[in-house]
Symmetry: C2
Subunit: 335 residues, 2 copies
Amino acid sequence: MIRIALDAMGGDNAPRVEVEGVAQALRELPPGFLIQLVGRTADIEAALKAHGDVDRGRLQIVEAPDVVGMGEKPLAAVKRKPRSSIAVGLGLQKRGDSDAFLSAGNTGAVMAAATLMLRLHEGVQRAAIGTLFPTAVHPVLVLDSGANVDCDARELVGFAHLGSVYVRDVLDRPEPGVGLLNVGEEDEKGNAAAKEAHQLLKQATGIHYVGNVEGRDILAGECKKGRIDVVVCDGFVGNVVLKFYESAGRMFMGMIKQAFPDVLGRPEAKRLFKFLDYSEYGGAPLLGAKGVVIICHGSSPARAIMNAVRVAAHMVESHVDQDIGAELAGGSAAR
Amino acid sequence: MIRIALDAMGGDNAPRVEVEGVAQALRELPPGFLIQLVGRTADIEAALKAHGDVDRGRLQIVEAPDVVGMGEKPLAAVKRKPRSSIAVGLGLQKRGDSDAFLSAGNTGAVMAAATLMLRLHEGVQRAAIGTLFPTAVHPVLVLDSGANVDCDARELVGFAHLGSVYVRDVLDRPEPGVGLLNVGEEDEKGNAAAKEAHQLLKQATGIHYVGNVEGRDILAGECKKGRIDVVVCDGFVGNVVLKFYESAGRMFMGMIKQAFPDVLGRPEAKRLFKFLDYSEYGGAPLLGAKGVVIICHGSSPARAIMNAVRVAAHMVESHVDQDIGAELAGGSAAR
């Protein structure tokens, strides 16, 4: 049985939305997992009242009296609050009592706590958040999408390895193409970190590097030099592009609704809106720490929580964490 | 009569597309301007054969035998080719024989040549490319959108001033709101340059600074703290987001065409597709150099060239160049 710990106190509407997402997950997803709801027991029990049908046999509550606020400084908060839902949830995994941790709370705090408590795999300089961008062809993993605002060239190369293993294991694509996000495809393009990373990536083994890619290539899923499955960038540009994309989807959705109100009932419209709705895609994996950690939007609706549970279970099943450990420790990144 | 010099040799399909765009501009735009086509006379004349109806009284050809290629290193190419269409076109403006220069050629070369030949306004550290992002509310000027991949905090503050004057003069908005593109709204967010720029912008006079803005706020045209007319960022992230947005527009357009083929003939569809088509918006102003310079996509169709001519004429009429000089030299940026 896969044990998934969920930060019940994380999101903007915690614990109501988290509990609702868990209830959906237990009802709708294939069984084989149990949920460990981490947070203030009384608050969680109160929220559970709205879901009398939930399968309590696959649901545990783990008490954690403290909460890290969205505005708190991550590292300081993690150190000051060892009994926060984030620290308690990751502690379960550290002790081998849980297989995955999900949170819609303070992203920086989750990242800092995961790095401190689970530690990074050998050969990994920094953990990165990977986000799947939906495209018209195949989803493209963009990392880092927000964990690290300043990245040097070696860290960017590390992200290329992390992303490759994730796409191979979790998305079942045997030889993922990796692009470095840049302002042009030529060798001399980019800021200092991108120029150096481009040279390092050209020589790297164990990844299929297609070269510099531009903003327009992400959604194309390919460039002149080949197919793109993974796009590597620092967390500043990754975060900006991710949030921009979500807002563009909302804007286009609004425009379609206004321009063509008569088509909204059609199945094609439902498919298109589902494509544009980020809550369909669940959370984003934090890659590089020893373990399975998924970060969700603070504003995640219940459906996004449920989908994050699905992704977490699949990550555990696919052994992506072990494979990252094997690949980066003995393997190509260290060479 | 406003004199607009146009690099006939710049774009991917030069001079054919440039000449076609000029013919359209002379036919469709309000008069009051003349065009100086700069490039190889024989090639330009050959391309003009397809446009027998063009008003030759408002069209001059200025010979420039050399061309800067798209792949050439900007500064080296500008210095090595003083008779390139870029250098000759900007030379006209430098000598007072032209009021504006347009090019769909090598962006770096246009920027380098403009900086060297026209020089920067006093108080300007670097020129920046400003791109208008269409949104559901009002177009938002994003700068720098590609000229400078590494920017320090003072340069970002300079972009805030340049963008404010442009939006005030050319878009007629009296008090433009300026946001600094960042990964969160809080003071402590961002990389080193963004953190410092945020503090400097909070103290800056002569601009209406609304604060840090996120990727999602650009298309919203506002954030919690107010309306956003100008978004300031370094040219790396600006270029990535710009190209990403263009590709997102194309992707959504393709999805609508596939999902709802029966609506494509409607006026609402035409309006929506026009909104999503970047060639409707003309070129992007290079701000900070003394003069009027507009940079177009290398792949600009004739319609984009025509729209860039329209924007250039409006920039000259609105005296944005003089106002930038006055504001930054005596004014707020120097304080």
